[in-house]
Structure formats: C-alpha cells, structure tokens
Assembly symmetry: D2
Homo-oligomer: 448 residues x 4
C-alpha cells in the first residue's frame, strides 16, 4: 500500500469574476427569461401545486424576486423600502435564518397576491436593481458575488419552472399543450425522427477513460456554487462510459422484458416504491387503447420518440436499468473525469430560443467514437451521494443554507438538461435529487 | 301530556308546481347570481382548494352547468351535443351512476379548462336551456321537476360558493377582502352596532312550545327535496326555545370561562378534535397582539361584533356551549314545530343584493317575546342525525344519489343562513354536515 | 293512525336494588368468569393488539380490576393502599377525570406488568373487595350502586374479551382454535345442522306490531345504565318485524347477487369503505381454493353454517343488505316496542357454560309465527343514532364519562349476543358502535 | 494531474475458511447465545413490537432458525422435512426470492406460535443441523460457506436482540430492568465511575493518520460479508482522528449550549426530524423533576454516566455535534485506514459474559496518545453512504438479497458495539442504518 505522491499544484480557489459592464444587460436578459417562460400560461396555471415537489409558477416568479430584494436591495441599496411587508413571509423558500414562511405544501392554496401584483413586484425590484447594478463597482466584492449567485439562483428556478409547468399541465385530464405546435420556433417543429417515432437510433459504444488521480471540482475562472469546492484529488480506476444516453427505445426494451416486475434488478426501497405507486414506465409515458406508447411533452401527448434520451426516471429506475443491462451508473468523479477527458462543452440550454422543451432525438448519424452531448440533454443520475467535498465549509448566515443543509439522502446528477439555461451549465455542476424523484429531466448513461 | 290537536288532514305528496311562464326568467336570474358571486374574484382565486371540503369557485360554476347539461339537455333536447367530451369526467361531483370523475382532493390542481372556457360553457348551456325551457310544456312532467331541482341545486352551490370563497380568501396570509367596503351596497355599510363591536345585544328569552303529535315534512305546494318527505307524525314533548341565536358576545363568555379547556362539556370525539387541532375559538376568529378579538369577514379582518350571531362553529362547539349553559340543542322535530308555531318566514337570502355576506347583528330593540329570524341568519345545528324520514325511498337512477346516500354520520341543520338565497329557504329544509365542519354559516339556538 | 292507549302510569326512576346478601357470591362469580375466559390462552396471546379497537386480554383483566380499586376501594375502604402506584396510569381506559393514561394505540406494546402480576393484582383487589362487600350495608347507597355498575362493567368487558380474543387468534396465519373441539362442553359439539352447513333454515316470516305511543327506557326494578333513562314516550307507527335474524345463508345470496359491487345499495361512506378495504364478505369469512366458504370461529376455520345468524357485519353491510332485500332496519324504538310486545326474555349469555362462543344455528323447526331469540344471538343494528334520551343528564365526576361522551356518530344496537353474559342482557340495553365496526357479534333483523 | 501508478499487489478474493472440526461446537455456542439473551425475559416480552424497526424477540429466535432450515437443511440434508409448513411464511424477513411473508409491521400482532413452540423449532433444527455438520466435509463448499454465513447472520440478530429488548423494556412505563443488578456478572457491577456519574473523563486528543493510496476491504483469511468486497484502492488525504469516542459528558455540553435548538448545526432533514419528534437529547435520556439527567440501561433507569461514550444517537445528531464542535465525521475509508494504522483489534463483544449490555465508561487513566477501542464500544457513524464497493456484484438467488438491495439512503457505521459478539467484529465490517435511527448502539468519533 503505497502512499500517493501527487500534490495538487496550485489550485487557487476560484472567486467571482470582477463586476463586468455587461452585468446589467445580463441581469435583464435572465430576468426576462423567467417571464418569457410563464408567458404562454394563463393566470389559473400559475397558482396550482399538484404535488409537493412542484411549486406554482407564480411562486417562482415571486421567490426569485424576493431573493434579489432580500440579499441585495435590503443590504446594499440605501433607503430601499420593501415592496410589501408580507412578501418575505410568502416567498421565502427554506431559509430558517430569514424567519418563518408559508408551508411548502400550502403554496398551491395561495391565490393572492395575484399574478399581476407579482409582475409589479418584479418591475419594482428590477428598477431598483438597475440602480444598484449601476453602483456595483463601489460596493464590496460580496455584493457582486451575490449578484452572480442571484443570477444562477434565478436560472435554477427557470429549470424548475420548466419542469413544474410540464407537471402541472400533464396532470390535467385535458393534457393541454404548453406551446401549440404552430407557436414553436421553426427549429423544433418536426425534426425528421421526431415525426417518425421509430427513427433510427445512434448506436451505443463504450469509450475508455484511463484511471489515475484526478482533481475534481471547480478550477477555472468564473462562478460556481460552494458545493463544487474545494477542488480535491480523487483516485479513479480505469473505466468505460457509453458515448450516448440511454434512449426511450433502449428503455422500452427493459419494460418489454418485464423489468418493472422483477425485484432482482431493484434496490429494496425502489422495489417497494414501484409496487406502491404502480409504476410501469417513466413519468409521462402512457399507452393508448391499442398499446401504442405515448408521451406527454410540450405540445401535449405525442407518440413516444424512440431515438430521444429517456428522461423523467427516478434513480431507482436508472439503477434497475443498469443492473438489467449488466452495467452500472458512473460515479460523479468518473463522470467529471470523463467530461474533462472528452472535452465536453455546454450545448444545451438554448431551449427557450429553440423551443426544445424536451430532450431531442439523438442524431442517428453521429460518430459513435465520440462522447456526445454530456451537457444539456438530461441530468444524468450518478452513483454518488450528495455529500460535501472534503474540506467544504458552509458559509455563514443565510447563504449557508443554500446548499449545505441538503447534503444527505440525495444523489448527484451531472450534465444539465434541455431545460438548463446554457450559461448555467458547467462541467463541475452538482445537481441533486432524492432517488425517487422523476419530474426533472433525469436520464442515465451507462458505465462499466 | 295531551296529544296535540293537529291531525294531519290530507297529506298529498307535494309535487312540483306546473311549468310557469316565469320559469325562463327565474332560470336566468339564478344562473346570473352564480356568476355575480364570482365576479369580485380574480381568475387565480377561482382555482385553488385550500382544504378538501372547499371546492374551487371555477369548479362550482362548471359543475352546476354540467348538471343542466347532464340531466336536462342530454335527455330532453334532441340532437344536443355536449360542449366538451371531457367535462363529464371533470365536473361530475359524486354520481357513481354517471361514471368516473376527478378525485375530490384534486379539484384544486386543475388549472384547465380556464375560467374563460367555463364561462363559454355556461353561455352555451344557457342558450340551449333557453330553447328547452321554451318547449317545457310539451315535455314530460319529469323534465319540469328536473328544472326545479336544477335551480335549487344551483342555489345550494351558491351558498357553497359564498362559504368556499370566504375560506379561500381567509386562509391567505394577506387576508384580502371579498368586497371592498366601498363596493358594498349601502345597506351593509356601517350598521351602527357593527361599527361598535360592543353594541347592545338583544336580550335572550325562553319561549314555550306546546307538546303534541305534529306532522313533520314538506306539506305545502312547491318544491322540496326528497329528504323532506314523506310527511310523518312525531311526538314532541313540551319544550322551550330561545328567541334568538347565541351571539358572539355569548360565545365569548364561554371562551373566557375556559370552555375550550374543560373536557366535561364536550363529546369525546369533539374533545379529541379540539385538542388535535388546537381550536380555541370559532373559525375566523383571531386575537391581535393586544388580545383584541378580530374576525375575518367579507371586508377582511374586523373587530368581532358581539351582537351578531356566532357562526362558523362545529356541532361539537355548539353542543359544548349548550352543556356549559346548562341547556341543550333542539331536535329537528322541535325546531320545525317551533318554526310552524311561531310562523317563521324566510327573511334572509337577500345577501347578494344587500351585501350581507355574514350574519348581521341582532337588532337590540327587538321584542324579546318574539322568535326572530329562525330563517336566514345561520344554519342551526340540531341534535338530530341526518337519517331518512320513515318511508323515504331513494329515487331510481342518478338522482337517487342526490340525498339518500349521505344519510349517515351527519347532523341536521335547520333554518338557512345569510348566504342562502331567499327563494331557497324553506321551513322543512334539511341541511346536513358532519359534526366537525365549521366552514359553513353554522350557529346555534338553545332549547330546554 | 290512532294514538296508542298506553299512558305511562307511574314512572318511578328505577334505582339500584338494595344490597343483597348474594352480592359477594355474585361478585365472585363475575370475577371468576373473566379469568375463565382467558384461561385457554397462552401468556403471549394476552398482550397483543392487532388493531386499535382490540385490547389485549391482559389489559382487560387489569382494567376491570382498576375499576374496583379506583371507584370502590379508594373511596370506601379506609386505609386502602393501591396495589401499584403506576397501575392507574397503565389501566385507566378513557377517563379524563382520572388523569393521564397510556395511549390506546400503545396497549399492545406493553409486555409488563406480566400476566402473573395482573393475576396477583386481581387477587389483591378481590380480597379487599370481600372486606368492603361485608360492610356494604353500612356504606352510602352510592357504594352499592357502584358495585352494581362495576359488575356490569366487568360483564361488558367479558364480551369484549370474547370478541377481542376471537380477533387476535383469527388474524394469526395459523388460525389457532380458542377451544379445541374436544374441550368444548357437550352442548356445543356437533349440533346437527352445525355439522351439515347446508342445514335447513327456519323460514322467515313478518310479524306485525301495532303502532301507538309507547314508553321507552328502563322501567322495572334493577340495574340499568344511565343511557337507558329517562323513560320517555315515543310515537311508533305500525310496522312488521321479521321473526328471525338474517342468516349466513340469506347473506350469501346477497353476496352471490353481487351486492358488494353495486353502489346503489350502499350509503356513500360505506361504499367508499368497502372499496378501500376490499371487503367482499363479512369479517371472518374466507373462501378456500375450491370456492367453498369458510368461517373462523372458536374452534378455528370451519365450513360456513348457513343456518346460523350472520354476524360480524358493519352497519353499512346490514343497511345495504336491507336495501337489497327491499326492506329496512328497525329503529331502536321499534325494536324495544317489539321486544315488549313479544315478551322477549334473555336466553343467551350462557355461552361460557355451553361453549357457545358463536351465534348458534336457528332451529329449523321453530314456529315461524313466534319472534325467536330477540335477546342473545347477535347485537342487532338499528337505524337509530346513539343519542341521549330526552332529559338525559350526565352524572357528575368520572362516571359522567361512562356513557354520555360517546353519544355522537355511533348507532344503537339492541338485543345482546352469544357473548353477552345472561345476567347482563336487558330489553332496554343500548349498545353502540360506529357504523364501520365488525369485530363484535353484530347482525341484523329486517323491518318494514 | 498524474495518473496513479500503484497497482494493488495480489489481492486474492478471500473465500471461506475450510470446514473446521470446531464448527459444530461453534454452531452450538452461537445458537446457545441467542437463547441466553432471551432467557431473562418473560413470554409476554417476546411478542411485542413497540415500533416498526424493532422485532419481537420470539421472532428473532424463529427467524434465525428459519435461516438454517431454509438455506441449509432444505438444500443439503436429504429427506429433511420442515418443522411446520407455515413457518416459512411467518419467519421470512425480507427475501422476495422466497415468497410472500408477514408484513413487517404485523410481527408484533402474532402471539402464535408460542415461545415454547419456537424453542421446539430451534431444538428440531439444531438436531438436524448436527447431522448436517457431521457431513459437511462431503458437501459442496457452498454449504460450508452458508454455515459461516448462517453463524454471522445469527450473531447479527443477537445484536438486534440486545437493542430490540432494550427498546421494548424502555418504552414500558414501568421501565423494568433486563437484568437485576444482583444478577449481573461481577465485572459489571459498580465500576467506580459508573457509580459516580461525574467521574473523570479520559482526555480527548487528535492522532494524525498519514495520507496515501490505501487498499480497503476484507483482505485476510476468514469470513466476510459480500459488501466488504472487492478490495479496492482509495486515496486518503492526511487527517486526524480523535483517540476516543465522544462521551455523554461531551454531548451534554452540546445540549446545554442549546445545540438541539440551533438549525445552523443541522442537516435540513435532521432539523425537521428533531422538531417533529421533539428530540432534546439522545434516546433513553430523560431528566428527573430536579433536572438530573437519567438514562435507561440494562438495570433500568440510572444517573447518566458522563464518562461513557454517548450512544443511541442518530446520524443527524452525530453530524450536528461534529459541526458544533468545528469538526466532522470520518469517512469509512478514513476510519478503516486509521484502524489499520493503529492496529485495532476487537475487544468488545464479550458482553454476554460480562453483562456489559451498554457502552462502558472510558477508563480515565488511559494513554491519550493511543487510539483506544475502535472496535466494540459503539457503532461509529461515518460520513459515507452505504454504497457498493467498485466491482461489487450481488450473488445470484436469495443471498443476493442479503446486502445489495439495501445500498441506498443509508450510512455506513464502523467498529462494532458492546452488543456485537466478539467473533463477529471485523476491521472491515460495514454496518448500515438510515440517518434517523437511534435504537442501535450508535455513537461518534471526531475527525478533522
């Protein structure tokens, strides 16, 4: 047993970028995107909460605004007056440091303030933020850091807006479309193999990644969440990763082989869950009376596209699929190592422009020796717990509640999805959900 | 104990009145009232369901319309085409005969169809109903009976709309008003003793009612529900009834005497409930930091009016109060006997015109030898189970589910409330709720 | 409808009988019977609680003893020292007046005190009670009344012991017998038609009962519970009652006609319950792989005896059966009137001597013009709520909790069962259970 | 980032030891120990289940026996007849491969088979096992492996017996002792500082462990569970570990500093749990009316011994303590590395002989430069999820359910406790529980 001899060279802890002249414009763009997401909805759609995990869109619009008011305006803009004295109670999400708040389960019972007032709230805060951003250079560095955090916070909620809206509409017996086909940007209408669900699937291939001691965590310039730090070394054994995500077509084979009915592929808690809930397929899948598989998506119910990555599966389903296939899920260290090895770059996240509000079919003619699209199709379940990196310290104050207190009983997901804003995707991003969650754009990639 | 001298003369089972030329106008008026009730709300208010008992206002608007479509138009209007094929699933309330339906607990998760579509649905059905009503004379008597039932059904839902809207707005931390004070009809603004919460209370007095054999049940012309029949005789011992309802001021004495903390006044299940829920006062009561009692009403939070009847109490609270006061609740036979004896006539129900959306203060100068306002202030809990009258038969088909299947574990309430449309109040009306319910306008009158 | 001519003569409120010289012997006999009931069990059987309604037999043995200690010995025997300071906490059932107590749901988690200690407790209390009973003549009348109450209290628990033991053993996958066939008294082994389950059934017949004003409630000498008082008049319309209980054979026809699957026969809450619980037959019924109906009884699983009264059914099932049969359940006033009319006398309750630990087959050759066995086969569900009789007053102190606080959401049962001690059965006895309960010996008799 | 170059030398996968002549004697000794543990109990104690996690002692005695019957006798002893056809249903714990079984929540409702029958079952199986063990040399190696597994399985249940018995007795309001003080072996009566709860505590010290690449997992001869394999390399950074466990005295400081009331020390799910359950101290701690801390142990309630390791804490409490103390928990790789580094050897597990049925006080005069008692005081919570080691494969068949299916949402504990049989403790043993569990002998050791 030889002790390792690989000191990490010089891993300067990356801080925030200096306040950039482009920041006000970026702020406006990010804020506008939240509103754009809700624009296709009716006011009625913005208040309901069909399940505990899902928050009403109106709540997201208000909570993200509350974040700016609470962390920036109240602390750094002199004489700032809050928009409404009760909004701190109404729109605090989970910060114990910031006082009491509406029970999460009650978010869907609150018809007031109306959507119109929430838009007024946004305008009010945005106007004051414009003032603040104009003075940012004179403020402490912490203010600039908080602006960056606030932007990423809002982008996180944009992904939640996408997934929560999808869930809200999907549970309605009328299965309404989020965007009418005609309203979709040209890019998304009728990709050839979307129209032909049986379209050819890019062949899967195993790509080797060499073992070694690697440094994991956020190492370049720019923003990261605190949970991506500190950079630290890990020992990775040689392994292979698949060049593409598991597709709907692949997953259908698992279903047709009886995978949901054979306990030996499942973790015990997953097996209990599957039986208790009667799961027979991923979320949003259904069968018409003829046995044809359908799937709810942004334009309503449509035939299942076999060439698209499977998404909306729990960790239990991902793990069971991998067992059934004789493989396994990668760890997050393996995933990050592979992403660095293959030079992955963010390609997704442009969904608002493209109308890609669902994972797109994998192009059938792609080169199978390449590892495509590690970033931006689906969040990929890893076989790693969401624990603190060695040496991680929670920040003091309310921001210490941002990430650290969730580091138990959840699993890390990597990669970003079709609903993740492009500027929000990073190689080192650690998303996390409980093993039973399915309403996010969650899929899997096999390792061995 | 001398038997009463009121032999029942001829107890013809009362049928519906013949189709009247005024029926189309009455139909329009009733239908318009439902819409008027929702008019002060925002679309967001019409979709939420803060507790299982409460239905979203949008649902009420649609369900009452579904009733006309299902029972009248589909059966009696040739070539009628339903407005939307899925609405039968969405807006059936509880009729097993009519197929599957949305779970009651999920009504508040359904943002679609939007409110605008529900209004379109109402217009579509109203237009077809106008045609049908024009032909009513040529249709079987059953059609006319169903029209009458449909009108009373819609009026029942108008009371539910009032109580459900009140609950929805009251649970919002912003405690918004349903009607701004300025928007209220003149009649309701500032009754003298409403402004002075400690206003004089009409003195309570005991009024004797002679014992005897009385005929109970609907005996005159005009509509009744099937549960008010058959007329039958009951033996009533002599008793006394109070001339007025128990007021907020009376009930406050019970609270201040520690009534909520002394088990000996309570039924066992009530005592468990009070402790489990932490009830310390009627629904909608609260105390400000100075200990001043407030009460949520149609114009928001306001000081408690001591002269108004106590309302929004459960049967358990009514029963505990009566025990504490050394008295009891009347039975429904006693109540109906007394109402006949005192010649009670409906006086409430004009709430939409008057803006009385809450029990009004009892006039302090009223004659205490009279039994005032048996009809139209609050539903009065009786000490009678909601069971079938002797000889009651459920109707065949779906209408057999209207009343009969609920005849267990509920108590009869009599009298009608400030939210009951005046033309809907009857001496023989049997309302019914479970003993723990408080969101209706429920109060009590003492007997001994 | 002519009023009946039975004016109530002089309704002296019946008090307890004077302390009789036979009381010590009766005390001993009743106390011995509780022990005898538990004698066939193993210590392990005496501690478990498979469902909330069921109490462990050990608890019954201790609780009945606690009753004597608490109400008699502590109050009337000078210098009495309690057996153990913690037993008041452990074995109080539901008396708020007497302080805190073990949660009902936790009775089955208490292995200590062991059964042997509970027997020691019984002996200790019995010895002191012998002393007290010797002095009873010198004590206030209240003491004698409490002794009578204590004896009836213990007899109530003997019936609960029978039903709870049955439930405990029945839920065990081994379905053990309570009494081996060989251990049963001769009287119970092999009644002819018990051995032949398809045995002839006594024909049902309708027996008329004249209408009138009748006095209801406990009117003769001797003990009654407070809920059987005051005597009061009721108006009863003429009706007919069946000469016998509904049998297993009758009920099987309801099952085979699909009665459990047709909502129109059911009360709404019953229909929900049946579907939620998956009920397809009375409690303790099962089908073997060949479809043969079996029923768990005191000697284990045995073929269903068609000639025995159906028992272990909920009110919902009784009511649905009656609807299906085009009839109804009697009210408790009708039942008591009929019992007086037919001169019913207690015949059951001798089950401990006879080993009849289950309703016995109805003799096939009985005279159908007679109303057989109103008392002592099964508790008969009535269509009457368990409410206070007019003028009822709860007693002061702990005994006020004996009956009064349960007077809501339950139904009255009349008649007594095969598990009711004979000296405990009365014409005026008001038993009460919630509509969903099935573990008592509950059956039905039809009225119309 | 240099790839590591440290190939693991030759890590032969350790198989079971060859069948030893001492095996029959060891079998008898292990089996006798299970019975000895239950011997101080009454039959009543052996059937109850006060919470879902706890199984009745009778069930443990039967389930361990079922294991031998199912995996050994039925497969390897020709013509073996099962003791009872229903026991497979009654005493299967969680093996889906082996058919249906009693719901875990219902184990405490089963009074039958009685304890006496379970002892007969044990005798029957032991006699047949004696025959089988005599033939072991002629049987396939798999049989010998199964015998070893069966012995360790039984030892696991011995620890569960200890913790479940403790829980059962502790929840009884009488707080009975498991062993009377007089019945305890001399070794356990009155250790000096047990009698004086404020006794001196061994000083804590930080001991450094060098970083490096280490091989983790079972590497020597002899038995291990499959979850301790495969041996694999991990990269461990230099760290320090405390020389001793956190004591009751240490933990009391956390309590007195308000640790249970300050969210910032807690994981979010832990904070919710603490508030929902009202936890204010470890399980089994209570305060007498004078504020004196007591603790339930094998001889009943006793003053808290400050010098003993804190035990019966959840992961959340361990983690919160570590945060409060400005430190952290070790990972399992760190723990195993340290244990190898310090040459830890099993010292606990002799509790049945010594009567040490609780963690013993840490000797005050111990050398603080030594790392004492890594094995055998308390299971030490680590900051590592219970996941599969890289390359782990579940076995085929029922044994594949032994460990693998539990590898989610649990944390690894290391070290063994006072209730772990000595021959069952290993350096590489991976125990696992959910983060909220407290009824095991769980404590913590700090790292940094």
């Amino acid at each position: 047993m030889a002790p390792a001899s690989s000191p990490l060279p010089t891993l300067a802890t990356p801080g925030p970028a200096p306040a950039s002249p482009a920041l006000p414009a970026h702020y406006q763009a990010v804020r506008a995107q939240s509103v754009a997401l809700v624009q296709p909805l009716l006011p009625e759609d913005t208040v309901v909460q069909p399940t505990l995990d899902v928050s009403p869109p109106k709540w997201h619009l208000a909570h993200t605004t509350w974040f700016w008011e609470t962390f920036l305006l109240k602390n750094y803009l002199p004489d700032y007056e809050v928009f409404h004295p009760d909004y701190a109670f109404l729109f605090n999400s989970y910060y114990n440091s910031l006082g009491s708040r509406v029970n999460r389960a009650d978010r869907g019972t609150l018809s007031r303030p109306p959507l119109a007032d929430v838009y007024r709230y946004r305008t009010y805060v945005d106007e004051h933020m414009a003032t603040l951003l104009g003075q940012l250079a004179e403020l402490p560095a912490a203010a600039t850091e908080l602006v960056e955090l606030g932007l990423h916070h809002e982008q996180q909620h944009q992904e939640l807006l996408a997934t929560d809206i999808k869930y809200i509409l999907s549970t309605n017996p009328l299965a309404p479309a989020y965007l009418e086909q005609s309203a979709m940007p040209a890019a998304t209408t009728a990709p050839a193999d979307f129209a032909s669900p049986g379209g050819a699937t890019r062949p899967a291939a195993w790509l080797p990644v060499p073992g070694g001691i690697y440094a994991i965590g956020h190492q370049q310039e720019g923003f990261s969440f605190d949970n991506e730090l500190p950079v630290h070394e890990v020992l990775v054994a040689p392994f292979e990763l698949q060049n593409r995500l598991v597709t709907n077509g692949d997953f259908l084979q698992f279903i047709e082989a009886g995978g949901y009915g054979q306990f030996q592929f499942w973790l015990g808690e997953g097996w209990d869950l599957v039986n208790r809930e009667g799961w027979l397929a991923p979320l949003y899948w259904s069968q018409d009376p003829d046995g044809q598989w359908l799937r709810y998506g942004p334009s309503g119910l449509a035939p299942l596209n076999l060439a698209a990555p499977v998404s909306h599966i729990s960790f239990y389903e991902a793990d069971a699929y991998a067992h059934w296939a004789g493989t396994r899920l990668p760890t997050e260290a393996e995933w990050e190592t592979a992403a660095r090895h293959f030079g992955a770059t963010p390609q997704g996240g442009n969904w608002l422009e493209t109308g890609h509000f669902d994972p797109q079919p994998l192009a059938a003619d792609a080169d199978p020796s390449q590892c495509h699209q590690l970033l931006g199709d689906c969040w990929e379940w890893t076989y790693s717990p969401y624990h603190a990196y060695p040496g991680y310290q929670r920040a003091a104050g309310a921001l210490g509640e941002y990430n650290g207190k969730f580091m138990i009983n959840q699993l890390v997901l990597r990669g970003g999805s079709c609903a993740t804003p492009e500027s929000h995707i990073r190689l080192t991003y650690r998303n996390f959900f409980h093993a039973d969650k399915r309403w996010q754009f969650t899929g899997l990639r096999l390792a061995r």
